[in-house]
């Protein structure tokens, strides 16, 4: 039976791998997800076959727990708005990390309190890793969720001696871990015999909870995609290390895959923001950007109406690139944007979408939002693919975005908060049209020189949804 289960886990892992492989194209992705889900069913069924429980309530509790959790998961997955995907992913990260920590804690408690101790060095280390990483990712995800949902801690919350406190907490986790590994010898040596391994683990759990909160609290706004990716990666590693604890290859393989995925996404996101990961985690962006530029002189902009844009688009333009930012999603303006695309296309114009990797609140978020609105995915271009297209583009329409098209990022000398961030080079197009609520700069708080280019730029100050509807009308009537 052990062999059968082992083979079943291997099949499940293989299905996960094939499933991820099929995520390379939108056409095959859905079947990939189904295959992975099938793999999960196999792993679960195999687990049922080898699990014996002596507890009287064992099976009812397991069944009931799966039912409750499954219903909660299904209902939230069915109801969630696509704009709220980052929150949902954060929530699933949180429960996944929490579950990994609890599994390890239970295992540790069994051997330590009920079995009289005697876990091996490797067991102790992997238990500690699972508990620390899992708990940290649980509390970090809770904070990320409440930031994204705008329940609390919105934006960047700074507090004094932040890094010192974090370092002390981390040191505390390390010392207590050493105490657990040495089976309490460390605490006895310094005269704290009451600090048994079990107590140490409980304290580690509390410290890791705090550390998760404090690490995520200062990060806000445009950096959220990084936080989400990083937590994803951590949860994967927590699952993998509980696989070491339970000697379960299904957990090791799956957790490691997720850890690798999260790590890659984190790296891609931080290079898309043009800042090293350490700088994002250890110094919130709002701490540096914004507010320092106090010259309030009114600079002139080319303020236009929907009619101006409509007649320009319908008469002088053949190729249009639309650059959507998170402002579009906030205004729920995806559907009007789709209509504008259809209207322009019905007049024989080419319409493409240029998507910056950090558009939205998590990696790839904007693509999902536009796909939901009905935009065919071949029109969605990544940054590297759209940049060469701007040369022969007649008009770029930028909706609810600023930082990702800000040429200030290229200006090495200017030392702006976003310098080094790769941008969509919209300034290469013939005309640039901003649909924006006001002149206020984006998250990074850096002014955009394009706003003041009277010859190239049209500024249309409005709410994204209403504005796009008005432009569509104007194009139709022009």
């Amino acid at each position: 039976m052990q062999v059968a289960t082992f083979l079943a886990y291997l099949v499940a892992a293989a299905l996960f791998i094939v499933g991820i492989r099929r995520l390379r194209t939108p056409e095959t992705a859905r079947s990939g997800n189904t295959l992975a889900a099938f793999g999960m069913v196999i792993a679960l069924v195999a687990t049922f076959f080898v699990t014996d429980t002596e507890a009287t309530l064992g099976w009812p509790l397991i069944g009931g727990g799966i039912l409750i959790g499954g219903v909660i998961g299904a209902v939230s997955a069915q109801k969630v708005q696509m704009t709220a995907m980052p929150q949902l992913v954060a929530a699933f990260n949180g429960v996944g990390g929490g579950a990994a920590a609890l599994v390890a804690l239970s295992e540790f408690y069994q051997t330590e309190a009920l079995g009289g101790g005697g876990e091996t060095l490797v067991q102790a280390i992997t238990v500690l890793l699972s508990i620390t990483i899992g708990t940290l990712s649980f509390s970090g995800s809770v904070i990320a969720f409440s930031k994204l949902q705008e329940l609390a801690f919105s934006g960047s919350v700074a507090f004094p001696l932040q890094q010192v406190v974090n370092a002390l907490l981390f040191l505390g986790v390390l010392l207590l871990s050493a105490n657990v590994v040495t089976d309490g010898a460390l605490a006895e040596a310094v005269g704290l015999p009451q600090l048994s391994p079990l107590v140490s683990v409980i304290v580690i759990l509390v410290l890791a909870l705090l550390l998760g909160v404090l690490l995520v609290i200062p990060i806000g706004g445009a950096d959220m995609p990084i936080v989400i990716s990083l937590l994803n990666s951590l949860t994967g590693l927590a699952a993998a290390s509980s696989g070491f604890v339970l000697d379960n290859y299904a957990l090791i393989i799956s957790g490691t895959l997720v850890g690798a995925s999260g790590t890659i996404l984190t790296r891609q996101m931080s290079s898309a923001l043009g800042r090293p990961l350490g700088k994002i985690i250890f110094a919130g962006i709002a701490a540096s950007g914004g507010g320092d530029d106090e010259d309030d002189e009114e600079r002139e902009v080319n303020d236009v109406s929907a009619e101006d844009i409509g007649s320009y688009l319908s008469e002088d333009v053949n190729k249009v690139v639309i650059v959507p930012g998170y402002g579009l999603a906030v205004a729920q303006a995806q559907a009007p944007l789709f209509e504008l695309m259809e209207t322009l296309e019905s007049q024989g114009k080419e319409v493409l979408f240029g998507i910056h990797p950090v558009a939205g609140r998590m990696p790839g978020h904007m693509n999902v939002l536009l796909a939901e609105a009905g935009v065919p995915h071949e029109k969605l271009y990544d940054m590297e693919d759209i940049n060469p297209e701007f040369e022969d583009t007649d008009a770029v329409i930028i909706v609810g975005a600023n930082d990702v098209v800000n040429p200030a990022a290229n200006d090495e000398a200017k030392e702006s908060a976003i310098s080094g961030m790769p941008i969509l080079e919209v300034e290469n197009a013939e005309r640039v049209i901003f649909v924006k609520r006001s002149l206020s700069p984006g998250f990074a708080g850096v002014d955009n020189p394009l706003f003041y280019d009277m010859d190239k730029t049209m500024m249309y100050f409005t709410d994204a949804k209403q504005g796009l509807q008005d432009i569509t009308e104007a194009v139709k009537n022009a």
Binding site: G73, F92, V103, S106, L257, A260, I355, V368, A371, H377
Partner: protein, 101 residues
């Protein structure tokens, strides 16, 4: 010791495989990728079931139960929402415009 070495070997090979696999997923599908991998780490549900089944006192039973609920929400919700999202990426109606080669 042999168990540990085997585990580490699996870990290293999988990490390498994961990097290879995931580097090839286009930016467009990064959100579904993340929610699908999210569902996959719900495999911790397997561990939670084992832990709950082994639970012998109130404490281990309670945390085992919470872990099972968490894991199940993670698995079911993760695959469900990924499926919902991917159904929005419609098959192309016409393939007139080819991406620049």
């Amino acid at each position: 010791m042999e168990t540990l070495l085997a585990q580490i070997a699996v870990f290293v090979v999988t990490a390498y495989l994961g990097f290879e696999l995931i580097s090839r997923v286009p930016n467009m599908l990064h959100t579904p990728l993340m929610s699908a991998t999210n569902a996959i780490h719900g495999i911790v549900l397997v561990g939670a079931i084992i832990a709950l089944a082994a639970g012998t006192d109130a404490f281990t039973t309670t945390i085992g139960f919470i872990a099972v609920v968490f894991g199940a929400a993670n698995v079911v919700g993760g695959f469900w929402v990924t499926n919902r999202m991917l159904s929005m990426f419609r098959p192309p109606q016409k393939r007139v415009k080819k991406r620049k080669d």
